[in-house]
Amino acid sequence: MGLSVTIRDLELKNPVMTASGTFGYGEEYAEFLDLSRLGAVVVKGLSLMPKEGNPPPRIVETASGMLNAIGLQNIGIERFIHEKVPFLRTYDTKIIVNFFGDSIDEYVAAAERLSSVDGIHGLEMNISCPNKQAGWCIFGTDPRVTSQVVQAVRKATALPLIVKLSPNVTDISVIARAAVDAGADALSVINTLTGMAIDIRTRKPKLANRTGGLSGPAIKPVAMRMVYEVYKAVKVPIIGMGGIMTAEDALEFIIAGATGVAVGTANFIHPTAAVDILDGISAFLTQERIADINTLRGIAHAC
């Protein structure tokens, strides 16, 4: 059965990946599943310097979803390289490192450092974070700024470069085109949707950060529509994500146009979710006598 998919020249044994921020640095899940079964492990977002993150409460459960405002807490790129990469390299899977910065220079420096390390197969850029050089506006909500930061990172790395798009925009296909024209090899669609929840007793936002990113099944229809739109807009591979809980959800994304799929919030609920979804996809292909998963991609557009 053909499960393997390709992102630029990076061949994944299957389309199932983990969504950044929901899978730690991989080792947290190693006791629950065999990381070598995954198409790729996408690790928690990293910055040049360690980041402490936001004060608690950092998460709130919502109807079929959750809001998080972790604040990009991470151990920093150097510690990741020395403490986590050696472990990840013992597995037969592709390691994709999600990273971010608060300035274009920081993105570039991070990309350069990560590209110098053996065992990292690809980079995923988080552009849903604030730009301190431009009044803290979000990089990924302006096509011009998206273009600038992606172009700069493109020059700094030869690794496959995936840009993770923010859904908090008017027209995601405009940002998608800007990222691809600037050199993105693939797009992750989507990051979390900005949301809020209020405690009626304290009359205050439930998250200490006030707002947070909504994930989980609640956002799946929005993510699906965005994958569909981005597929129409650009030619590069799309990694579809947003509320994938089951193999059926993952297949929907592939049919909408995704080459790969990333399992996110589901990892929190069932630590084996990613491999369970992979098994479900295999079973579906067998059942439907589909020889190669790549033939399913984007066929929703045929009608």
Binding site: T22, G216, H270
Partner: protein
């Protein structure tokens, strides 16, 4: 972490303390507070639930020559019960609740404790006030060396905070079981952190039991 339904609302597993182990298995003691525990209450006997655990650490046992003071605020009894049981007649338990009716399992607690000092917010049973008030009264009426005691506590955060202040004042070693909103329970989501003097620590992984002096209250 226990799954309370097969659907997606509520979405996340719920974190519970292991109340005690019996010949029949593990028991959970919970108070119905929200959506998840509401579903649990209405569940038919024999329903199979997905569970992940046990997770995290436990109260470190005190040396033989110490007297453990165990403080439970409300449903916090669920967390410290097995400690009291394991301490077999050594613990002095300060059990506080809102009212007399909120004092669950008090008979069982008495069976394993050396002494139980009950308090209720409304005075309907035992002393009037919180478990922290009861502890304060106890400590101020005894002459002792602070190194004679170990404090263990689980309960609402304001109670744990006042207990830590008391422990600090009397220089007694204190361990508190912390609570925070939790998604995964295995250290990945970084949702359940509490602020300590060494940075944020995860309740699910480095806790739930933490040294009270480490925490930035």
């Amino acid at each position: 972490m226990i799954e309370v339904n097969k659907g997606t609302d509520p979405l996340l597993k719920r974190a519970f303390s292991l109340f005690r182990k019996t010949d029949e298995g593990l028991q959970i003691l919970y108070r119905v507070r929200g959506k998840g525990t509401g579903i649990l209450r209405n569940m038919k006997e024999g329903t199979v639930l997905d569970m992940l655990g046990p997770l995290g650490n436990f109260y470190p046992m005190p040396p033989e020559d110490k007297t453990p003071l165990v403080i439970a605020g409300g449903i916090g009894i669920a967390s410290v019960f097995s400690l009291v049981e394991r301490l077999a007649d050594r613990a002095i338990v300060f059990y506080g609740a809102r009212t007399k009716d909120d004092l669950l399992m008090s008979k069982e607690v008495k069976d394993y404790a050396k002494e139980v000092i009950v308090s209720t917010d409304d005075g309907s049973a035992g002393l009037k006030g919180t478990a922290a008030d009861a502890l304060q009264t106890f400590l101020s009426s005894h002459s002792f060396s602070p190194s004679h005691f170990y404090i263990y506590a689980c309960g609402p955060q304001p109670l744990l905070k006042s207990l830590s202040q008391i422990a600090k004042e009397y220089r007694i070693r204190a361990y508190v079981s912390m609570e925070e909103h939790m998604a995964c329970g295995i250290g990945a989501c970084l949702g359940c952190v509490v602020k300590t003097y060494e940075g944020y620590k995860r309740v699910c992984k480095e806790g739930p039991v933490m040294n009270a002096m480490e925490i930035v209250w």
